[in-house]
């Protein structure tokens, strides 16, 4: 899955404009040195949204782009590495000078060089001068440039780009100092800053005082919002018949839910997708059939006996069998070869279903997305989810959407149908071509109508104009108006007739092609549907799993002897579990001695069948030690902590009850 390519395409526009911005200042500065603006550092504030994990890729491609097309001097710094100005400068120098040396392939040990030179911007300045001189000489050598161009080159020094990846996390004092220092050298060293900002541009003003921000010449660049990002990834990966692997509605809801509710991270979404794919191929043996059409047909021919049996047990296949003739049913249940053949047929059907499904889905979306209040959802993913979940035409939302479509104005309808036709053009099955034909037929009729209706209306205008000349009394006027009214209700004009035809046509399309995937036989092959597993894996709950481990150790340890009824405390369980269960019965402060006694009672409960009762009151040092260890483990897990309120007591840190 080439999500990176997709993301690159999405980011391209922003990044290109950024590159333009960075190329530009070289000219601007040289033309008006006499101004103060010369000492302003051009700064790009790149708005990236809050999905911090996604930024890495954006910055990587930005770096590459800049290095390829603008300047080799690109530095990107992370807030974590730069706790002080010194470290920040060091970082910048390291990256720049190290890179410069490696590019020129001089046989110099750059670390030694760094140690010798002072770690200051003025050292960088020196270095920059020599490098640019070198570069110019080389360029002169390579190409005999005309003197004019040489001048241009001299003016257009390559900028030094410093990228602050996470602007918010930087210590503001460090940033201020760095900017102040850099602004002293702008004449010699053409700096350009890029701030990666996650929240809003006003963060700059919050972070930097006026005296510092006046040294910057800030321009704001917006990257695509993450929801748009998700929409395009969704379009390319899920709403696509190319990939045989599909997600059920529940799984989509889980993934989109995680995105919208928790992190806004497209990367995590893609990871979830990848995980569900792995899980599908891992858990569903019939996923051998989940591949491109001809491969699937081939593998359907050589299905093993076991897999044939599995197919028979698929709910969707059973449903299919039930619809068949009794004779056929018997054959399907007994004859393996026949099952294989049917299976091939069904697989073909499934593939054509997908091929027809997506274009029609997109058509329906383009028709309904402009309706007020979005009865079928603003995003195509919502429509998709409701389509594969249940019969769309049985929902209220669908009804209201059709109602709205039936009162659409003509130009809107035509525009919507045009876009539908565009979508259908890209679909290349026969049936879709058929649909396209019909649609274009409708379009042609609508356009023909346009001419007619315009004539009509002009005729009406003439009539009304004529009528005005007649002398009319009130009664007559009322009569004519009533007449008009009744005429309108009685007879729909040709456009309205056509419109209802169009809507009926669309309705029939929806009923034919947008059937839920669950009703397709063999849908289990392609659709991954265990949303529970996915939720458990992706949206982890560390606390509940710790509690589960402590209360039901069997769940993780799978040791038969640990199986207990709820409520009882088994002495076979690990010490930690026993101590945990005992502590649940206590209040906020726990007396250590009582706790220990309870522990020993539980421990000796198993033994004391045969031993005397006098021994059970005492606790040997082994039990004592085990108890102490368990308590300190509890402390480590954050359930209790020592307190100074009372001697020999520990405080509970969790709420009571479980």
């Amino acid at each position: 899955m080439n999500t990176e390519v997709i993301q690159d395409q999405l980011n391209k526009k922003v990044l290109d404009s950024l590159a333009e911005f960075i190329k530009k200042p070289g000219l601007a500065c040289s033309s008006d040195v006499w101004r103060q603006r010369g000492s302003e550092i051009p700064t790009a504030a790149l708005m990236l949204g809050v999905n911090v994990p996604d930024h890495a890729m954006t910055f990587r491609s930005l770096c590459n782009l800049l290095q390829d097309s603008v300047t080799p001097f690109v530095v990107s710094v992370h807030a974590k590495e730069c706790a002080a100005v010194k470290l920040l400068i060091q970082k910048v120098l390291e990256q720049l000078m190290g890179r410069g040396v490696s590019v020129d392939e001089e046989q110099e040990d750059d670390t030694a060089l760094l140690q010798k030179t002072q770690c200051t911007i003025s050292a960088l300045c020196q270095w920059y001068k020599t490098v640019t001189k070198e570069r110019r000489r080389q360029e002169n050598k390579c190409t005999q440039v005309s003197p004019k161009r040489k001048e241009n080159l001299a003016k257009n020094d390559l900028p030094v780009v410093v990228i602050f990846k996470d602007f918010e996390a930087f210590n503001s004092q460090v940033l201020q100092d760095f900017i102040l220092i850099c602004s002293r050298y702008t004449q010699e060293l053409p700096f350009v800053f890029i701030f990666g900002i996650a929240t809003s541009p006003s963060a700059i003003q919050h972070r930097l005082p006026h005296s510092v921000s006046s040294l910057l010449c800030i321009e704001v660049f917006h990257s695509l919002s993450c929801t748009q990002h998700l929409a395009s990834v969704f379009d390319k990966l899920i709403l696509n018949s190319q990939f045989p692997f599909k997600l059920s509605s529940r799984v989509i809801q889980v993934l989109v839910g995680i995105f919208l509710y928790h992190d806004f991270s497209v990367q995590n979404f893609v990871k979830g997708l990848q995980f569900s794919m792995l899980e599908h191929f891992n858990s569903q043996p019939l996923s051998v059939l989940c591949c491109q059409k001809h491969e699937a047909l081939l593998s359907a021919k050589i299905l093993s006996k076991q897999n044939v049996e599995r197919i028979r047990h698929l709910p969707s296949f059973m449903r299919y069998v039930e619809t068949q003739e009794p004779q056929e049913q018997v054959r399907l249940l007994t004859n393996d070869e026949h099952v294989k053949e049917v299976c091939q047929k069904l697989l073909k059907n499934l593939h054509t279903y997908h091929k027809n499904y997506y274009p029609i889905l997109q058509c329906l979306h383009s028709l309904t997305s402009s309706l007020p209040k979005f009865p079928l959802g603003k995003h195509i993913r919502e429509l998709h989810v409701s389509c594969i979940e249940k019969n769309l035409w049985e929902t209220e939302e669908y009804d209201s959407a059709l109602q709205l479509l039936r009162i659409l104005a003509k130009d809107e309808l035509v525009a919507a149908l045009r876009s539908c036709a565009e979508i259908l053009k890209s679909a290349n099955t026969k049936r879709m071509q058929n649909v396209l034909q019909q649609l274009e037929d409708f379009l042609g009729r609508l356009e023909a109508l346009q001419g007619v209706s315009s004539e009509d209306s002009s005729g009406n205008g003439v009539v009304s104009a004529k009528m005005e000349y007649q002398r009319t009394d009130l009664f007559q006027l009322q009569k004519t108006l009533l007449e008009k009214e009744s005429r309108r209700t009685k007879r729909m004009n040709p456009f309205e007739v056509l419109r209802s035809q169009v809507i009926d046509f669309i309705d029939s399309l929806v009923r034919e092609y947008l059937t839920p995937a669950e009703f397709q036989p063999l849908n289990e092959v392609c659709y991954y549907s265990s949303s529970g597993v996915l939720r458990q894996r992706l949206n982890v709950t560390p606390r509940t799993s710790i509690q589960a481990a402590l209360t039901h150790p069997f769940y993780y340890l799978k040791n038969e002897s640990l199986k207990t009824n709820t409520g009882t405390i088994s002495s076979a369980a690990p010490d930690l579990c026993i101590v945990y269960k005992l502590h649940l019965e206590c209040g906020r402060l726990i007396n250590l001695y009582d706790w220990l006694e309870a522990y020993v009672t539980v421990m000796s409960a198993a033994e004391d069948q045969d031993t005397n009762s006098e021994e059970c009151g005492k606790f040997d040092s082994l039990k004592h030690a085990r108890f102490i260890q368990a308590v300190s483990e509890m402390e480590f897990l954050g359930f209790v902590k020592s307190t100074k309120q009372k001697t020999d007591h520990v405080a509970r840190l969790t709420w009571g009850g479980c």
């Binding site: 700064t43 006003s202 910057l216 928790h262 992190d263």
Partner: protein, 509 residues
């Protein structure tokens, strides 16, 4: 760089005849001797310094006091004159400084502390003197000196060349510096006073505590003719270490008055227009901006930015240069707009210029603060709201807001005295994580599992600086947070999720 003393003497002799503004200034200075407050001390010190000099250098006794205050001896007259021309409105300061410095080969006062607001010409005056008179000096910006070693390095390399600086050990201490300086200066003793100029000296306070006192009496320490000039925006009182130190000579650079600003700003008039026009333009500009900004640099920047707009009617032929009123009408609203945007740097100057060019299209300004909206995941929004509530409601009122069957609690009886003042005036209060989560669960309408991603959202809110962590000692146990967003922000956020924050805020009951 160094001209021989002999030639200087000659020059001094030649130019000692009264000529030009200098003389008058110096005389004025001496005659009045009752300058306004900040200079008073300076002048006192100056006299002290002069006496000091006279004592130390008996050879100079022949020079009368009058001729010293002429400042001419030792320095070429024409350079001085050009210097004075280049430093308008700072003549007094220039004269005093020159007087302080004395002749190049005389010992000067060990340390001078110059203070004044931003853009009052402190470093400009000092550096111009140094450069024009070709005095040996080391100019160091203290911001750059992340360690005192860098400072020593810069000073040494400026005085004795980079080779000398290379002799410094890896992490040089003050004594290393003094030792090396002594060694170097014994090889090449100062023929003229050497000046160390420390810009933004307030940063020195954050450096090694012994550095500042040592630098103040560096002359004594290295036994060389060296003067340290400290430039700062802060008054000396804030510098004085509590162990006491050598008091430098204090010297104030006052702010420019409006008339002075006009005079200075009129200097860089456009070559294609008359100076008078530019002066009137500056007057208009100051009329708008003087109330908010007296920073010369900023004003100059604004003047340059908006001048083309000012000249637009002239170029179109709609107005003549004499129609000041018409021009004023044209530029005034424009300047008002500039004050709201460019001055606050909400629009970069390049964008402003571009916008001026295609003003006809009436492009809406993409102002920085206009994009205050932040997109957050759904639960992050609720976490932020919960944090806000936890920060601005007293913990005791949680029961009233988040329990279903709370009794009616009167505001007045219920609270302690200090809680009666608005919590919004007091600022956010820290709250423990448990409280945040409790409020969060009762605020969110659906059931939320305490998943790892909920907790990671809290930490990502911290990195976005929407929350801030308080106290760094006990992070594992019970971390405490503060909500650092404004009420407007939280109102906007809660509107997007359809939650009425105001109903839950104690201050708005």
């Amino acid at each position: 760089m160094v001209s021989t003393p002999l030639s200087k003497w000659k020059l001094a002799a030649i130019t000692s005849a009264p000529c030009g503004a200098y003389m008058n200034y110096a005389e004025g200075l001496m005659a009045s001797n009752i300058p306004t407050s900040p200079q008073e001390t300076a002048v006192d010190f100056q006299e002290m310094g002069l006496q000091d000099k006279l004592l130390r250098k008996p050879t100079n006794q022949s020079i009368t006091r009058m001729s010293v205050t002429l400042q001419c001896p030792g320095y070429p007259e024409d350079t001085l004159r050009s210097l004075a021309e280049r430093l308008p409105c700072r003549e007094t300061q220039l004269a005093t400084l020159l007087a302080l410095m004395g002749q190049p080969d005389q010992y000067s006062y060990p340390s001078v502390f110059i203070y004044g607001h931003r853009a009052t010409g402190k470093s400009h005056v000092v550096l111009s003197i140094m450069k024009d008179l070709e005095l040996p000096h080391a100019s160091v910006d203290c911001v750059e000196c992340v360690s005192s070693g860098l400072l020593f390095h810069q000073v040494l390399s400026a005085f004795f060349g980079p080779d000398a600086a290379a002799l410094l050990p890896r992490c040089p201490s003050l004594s290393d510096f003094v030792r090396l300086y002594k060694q170097m200066s014994s090889n090449s003793p100062a023929t003229q006073t050497r000046y160390i100029i420390l810009d933004r000296a307030e940063r020195m306070r954050d450096m090694d505590f012994s550095l500042l006192p040592a630098l103040l009496r560096l002359q004594e320490l290295v036994n060389d003719n060296v003067t340290v000039i400290l430039l700062s925006e802060i008054v000396w009182e804030k510098f004085r270490p509590n162990t006491g130190c050598f008091e430098p000579l204090l010297f104030h650079f006052p702010d420019y008055s409006k008339a002075e600003l006009v005079q200075i700003l009129s200097w860089d008039h456009h070559p294609s227009y008359t100076p008078e026009l530019y002066a009137s333009y500056i007057n208009i500009l100051l009329g708008v901006f003087f109330s908010v900004c007296r920073d010369l640099r900023e004003l100059r920047h604004l003047a340059v930015l908006n001048f083309s707009k000012f000249c637009e009617p002239l170029e179109k032929g709609e107005a003549k240069e004499s129609d000041i009123h018409k021009l004023w009408k044209n530029i005034e609203p424009h300047l008002q707009r500039a004050m709201q945007t460019v001055y606050l740097r909400e629009v970069s100057s390049v964008q402003w210029e571009q916008q001026q060019m295609d003003e006809k299209e009436a492009t809406t300004l993409r102002v920085l603060s206009a994009h205050a909206h932040i997109e957050l995941p759904y639960y992050s929004k609720f976490l932020l709201i919960a944090a806000y509530l936890a920060s601005f409601n007293p913990a005791r009122t949680d029961r009233r807001f988040f329990l279903k069957s709370h009794g009616k609690i009167r505001k007045t009886n219920f609270l302690k005295k200090h809680e009666k003042t608005s919590n919004h005036l007091l600022g956010p209060k820290p709250f423990p994580l448990d409280r945040l989560m409790a409020i969060f669960y009762s605020v969110v309408d659906s059931r939320v599992a305490p998943t790892a991603s909920i907790f990671s959202q809290i930490s990502s809110l911290v990195t976005l600086q929407l929350l801030s962590q308080v106290g760094h000692d006990d992070q594992l146990d019970s971390p405490k947070y503060k909500c650092s967003v404004s009420l407007d922000f939280i109102l906007a956020i809660s509107r997007t999720v359809g939650f009425d924050v105001v109903k839950y805020l104690y201050d708005f009951l």
